[in-house]
Amino acid sequence: MDTENLILQLGADFEPTDSRFVARRLFVALAVGLGSALVLLLVWQGLNPDLANAMKHRFFWMKAGYCLALGAPAVMSVARLARPDGKAPPIVTSFAAPVVLIAGICAVELFLTPSSQWLEMWLGHSWSACPWKVLALSVPIFIGLLWAFRAFAPTQLRLAGALAGMSAGALGAMVYGLHCPEPSALFLLTWYSLGIVLTTAFGALLGPRLLRW
């Protein structure tokens, strides 16, 4: 086609754009994704029957805080990659901080607990299900982010996919914390993190295929 005609066509199909388009769309995607994950949790797993009591303990807030501390920098980085010229900030340090902090709490926990109970503390009652449930709860959030990215212009597809997977995994894990009654930092550090690593890996795998434009 002749370039001038193309330009005239593009100019004819024209509307002003929202200057905060990227932020707004991401917000909608995350809100709907989180809401869907919550509904999925309620229907599929139910809340922790002892939730009111659990919320009085630091374990509950430790879990939520850990997930949020991983999820927030992941979301902020993936937001940068929505633009073609966007660069992800050096995120490894912001991810390392919560991991190191929880590892420190684990050390205290191990020190205070007789070694005969270490295995139970590590595996809890639900270690084999936890990472998979985190993965399942992350799916609606990941889909939300994919929807948002359809209108964006990412150029680092694998990295954007990995960070979208990580955002979805961390927020999915946070939702799972409303069900999970396990009260140990060692459990959190191992099995929640494994779930988030899984979603990150899936995101990295799917990114180049699903985020193309």
């Binding site: 086609m1 001038e4 193309l6 330009i7 593009l10 100019g11 990227v22 633009r83 010229d85 212009a153």
Partner: protein
Amino acid sequence: MTSEDDLKMLMIEGLRGDGRAHEELLRAIAPILTAYFRRRCGSGGLEPEDLMQETLIAIHEKRATFDTSRPFTVWMFAIARYKLIDAYRKRKRSPPTEELSDILAVEGFESAVSARMDVDRLLGFLPSKQSDALRKTKIAGLSVAEHAETSGLSESDVKISVHRGLKGLAARLRGEN
């Protein structure tokens, strides 16, 4: 005022809803993009013109991802580079990998754009029929027959306009009239 500023201003006016500014922007960057792709499509059966048009469409469709606090040309070449890599990927060849900063340095977009602005200014001195014929056949790359068809002129009429236009430009550059 640099050309980056000119392009960015057009982009921002376009984002606010000025379709004319948007068209003008696309018109101004088309030759820059063609030159960019031509330099990188040596082998591999890629058509610089096709890639340029594809990039224009992408720039139009993805315009909301432009952050007005950042340079326009960086954003534009990031999209062009992505389209180039994508085209190579489709043909299962390895693309030339350069960093954006290298592209900006090599392209010398500033001089290209200001040259284009100079041409626009010079063409402004010619009668519109002549400047139109020159724009279409010498810059946009239409054949004489194509321009004749779209403008409703006869082919010989177009040829004469091009000839007179070039003569007029040459005279202008030599400082006559």
